[in-house]
Structures are given as C-alpha cells and as structure tokens.
Amino acid sequence: MTALFNALRRGDRPSLRDVPFVCSWSGGKDSCLAFLRAVRAGGEPRALFCMLDETGARTRSHGLPVAFVQAQARALDIPLVLGSATWDDYEEVFVRTLRELAKDGVEAGVFGDIDIEDHRAWEEQVAGAAGMEAFLPLWQAGRRDLLEEAFSMNVKATIVTVDSRVLGRDFVGRELTPRCVRDLEAAGSDAAGENGEYHTAVTQAPMFSGRVDLRVREVQRVDEHYWRAELVVETPGAGVPGARAEHGGAR
C-alpha cells in the first residue's frame, strides 16, 4: 500500500484512475502539462486552483491577470478556484482552500513541479493537511522531453516573464517554439525555465475549446530582476465558443 501511495505521489504511474483531482494552476506550460498527464492517467478533473497576489489582481507565480486564467478555465470548462494571499498567510489560505475542495470529494492535488525537492515536500505537506494525496506527474521527467511532449500535443505558450540576469527583454512575448527553445538555451537558460529563467502563459492545449488569445501591451520591469509582459486578454467576455458556435456569428 505504501508503495502504491509513493508511486502515486511521485507520478510514477498507477493510477489516478477515476480519482477526482484539483490541479494547482499557474497558467503556464508546466501546470498545463501536469494537468494533461493527470487526465491521461485517468484522473477526473474537478477544479483548477490558482493563487493570486494580495491584491487579487494577478497570479502569484507568473503575474498573469486574473482574466487570463479565467479564460483558460473557461476554455477547459473546469471550475477555477482562486485564493488570494500574502506570503505570510499563503500556506494557511492554500490549505483552507484544499480542505474545502476535499469536502466536495476531491481526493488528489496535482502539481507541476519537475525536480525541486522543497516544493514537493511543501506540496505533500499541504495536501496531507487537507487529507489529499499530492500527485506530481512531471516529477523527474526530462525537461527537454517535457517540451517535446508539449510541442507534440500542440500546446502553445507565450513567454510572459523573464529573469533579466539570464535573458533579454526581447524574449518576452515570444511563443515557445523549438526555435525559441534553442535561443533560450543559447542565452544560457534552462530549456524549460525550471530555475525561474522564464515563465509562460498557455494559449492553446488539448481540451481547450478554443484559443485564449493574449496580446502584450508593453513590457515592464517589475522588480530588480524581472521583465514582465503587461497582457491584454483578447477574449475576456466572449466566452470561449463551443465547437459550432465558433463560426456561428460572433464576428
């Protein structure tokens, strides 16, 4: 039994089959790939969970406008649960939210970390505190392999922040393509940006009912180190049209 749980936790395999899960959602490629692997493993997606900064206007990790992650959730047709916290009460808010989800029958929390042990330990702890299993479908996966997986699944992501210590601001707003990955590596970044060299926003992925368009209004320096895209979300209210409505008349 312990072996099963360990395997489950590490994403080795057995299964999430029919297990209701919540996916920790940054809006970037890794959380999206983790989500897709969890679905592939047979998990039953119940919610996306995204933490916002203390103002509630932007996502905590990638600085994306709330409207953007909302548009992603609509495209996936999965409820989005938002938590708003300072770094001081981050864990408290996180656990409280997971507990609420657990009450509604969610049994697993899915996280998109690849190899940062501290994150995994924290995620196992907060999931455990809420009575859930933590599931890390990308754990120890090859970073290049994950990018290949994203490309082969037609996942499209745009770079929205870069660490100026490694990358120039001209990377902000670029779509993550094989060519772009070569340029990132040539500039000295980890291909997948696992060390925070860059963050992405996913605009297209399997299960999306339509593309979530974004436009970069300007690129700003947000702190000592980071360049960030100020995004305009192109389709905020239009909803993401279903299959047939797409060409039914909106335009």
Partner: protein
C-alpha cells in the same frame, strides 16, 4: 499580393516548409490519415485553427466514414480545437464547402491541410476550390508509401478502429477491430490495400499524441450501407460530463 479570387497553387503539396506559423484549417475525416497528417502539420509549426468536417445531407454523420457528430466533437475536444461542420449532399458539396472555407479565410486562415496520400482527383478538386478562395494547400502525406504510413500511424501511436469496410472485399468481422500490425496483415491477406487508400476500409481515431485522453467508444451494431459495412459508433460519456 494574394487577394481572394487569385488562384494560389503550390506545386508540391507535400512540402511543409512554409506551413510554419501559417494559420490553417484541417479537413478532418476522423480517421488515421487525417490524424497522421495533422500531426505532421503541427510538427512543421503550422498554426491549427480548426477542424472542418463535412457531414452527409442529414447532418448527423460524416459521409464516407459514417462517424456520428458526437464522435467528431469528442475528438475535437480531446485535441483542443474548434470543430466546424458543414452539411451537404453530393449535389451541393462544393457550394457548402466553399462557403465554409470563405468564412474561415475571412477570419485569417490562409492554408488548408488534407490527409490524402495520392488521389490526384482529390488534389485537383482541392486546388480548384481552395485556389479560388486564395488558400494554399498542404498534403503532409503526399506520395508517401502507404504501408509505411500505416506503420508510422501505429507506431505514433495512433489508436484507430476500423469503422467501415467495403463489403465484398472485406468481411463484416473487420469492423470494430483495432488497427494493429496483426490487423494490417489480415487486411492485406484479404486483398485490401494496407492503408485503405482506395476506400476498402475507414478508421476512427480514438487516441493519439495530440489527444488529451482516449475516447471511449462502443460499437452498437454493424449496418450494411451502400455495400459498405458501417459501424454504429457511440461515444461513452466521460465521467466529468456524466456528473
């Protein structure tokens, strides 16, 4: 200077070099050739905007493959792309298809991708109809070896089920079989082209690298329609929708 109406024909439809970054629609049958061609178009960096499927006059099933709309919708959902449906009898097929394509062109789509292998008549028709709208045509499988394509699809791995077979050449028992190396050997032994390019059989793809998840289907029966065995395919509800 490509205005609508100006004929645009690319000489080698199998060359995908300038598909990169190009917004395209895919002419989607739901079968293995469509799926493999789409994978190649995506790998070439094409910008997939939607799948276009043509239904028979009744608007409930695709023509040759006889796939129900619900199945095409499940495929589009798993791939994560809008599905655009046109419904036409053979008389108004060209008119309806052209209307659909014009609308897409007005929304910025500049290329059309098909999964034909070597049917010159199809290509000529496509070039005429789409050239008139100003769209370029790409055929990622063009002139490839049919048997090699089947092997590539299976290895990909694309999971396809035979959903139609030409009665007289193939027995009813082929309908519902998964396209595996064993199945391909049996098809060839029965005298069919391995790829079914001549219409000996058609498939429905239930899983592949572009799919978020497998589509669970059930074959509720096999009918004989115009001398073709045709599966009555039903999509099993996924748990999320079932709630």
């Amino acid at each position: 200077m490509k205005g609508p109406g100006a004929p645009v024909t690319n000489v080698s439809p199998g060359d995908l070099a300038d598909l990169k970054g190009t917004p395209f629609f895919f002419s989607w049958s739901g079968g293995k050739d469509s799926c493999l061609a789409l994978q190649r178009a995506v790998a070439a960096g094409g910008d997939l905007r939607c799948l276009v499927s043509m239904l028979d006059g009744g608007g409930e099933r695709t023509g040759a493959h006889g796939l129900p709309v619900a199945f095409l919708e499940a495929q589009a959902e798993a791939i994560g792309v809008p599905l655009v449906l046109g419904s036409a009898g053979w008389n108004d097929y060209e008119r309806v298809f052209t209307g659909t394509v014009r609308k897409l062109a007005s929304e910025g789509v500049t290329a059309a991708v098909f999964g034909d292998i070597d049917l010159e008549a199809h290509l000529e028709w496509e070039q005429r109809v789409l050239g008139a709208v100003g769209l370029r045509i790409y055929q990622p499988l063009w002139m490839d070896d049919r048997r090699a394509l089947v092997d590539e699809a299976i290895a990909s791995p694309i999971e396809a089920i035979i959903v139609a077979a030409r009665a007289g050449e193939l027995g009813k028992e082929f309908v519902g079989r998964r396209l595996t190396p064993d199945c391909v050997r049996d098809l060839e032994a029965a005298g069919a082209d391995a790829a079914g390019e001549d219409g000996e059989y058609h498939t429905a793809v239930v899983d592949g690298p572009l799919f978020a998840h497998r589509i669970d289907v059930e074959i509720e029966g096999v009918r004989n329609v115009n001398d073709h065995w045709q599966a009555q395919l039903a999509v099993k509800e996924r748990s999320k929708e079932a709630e």
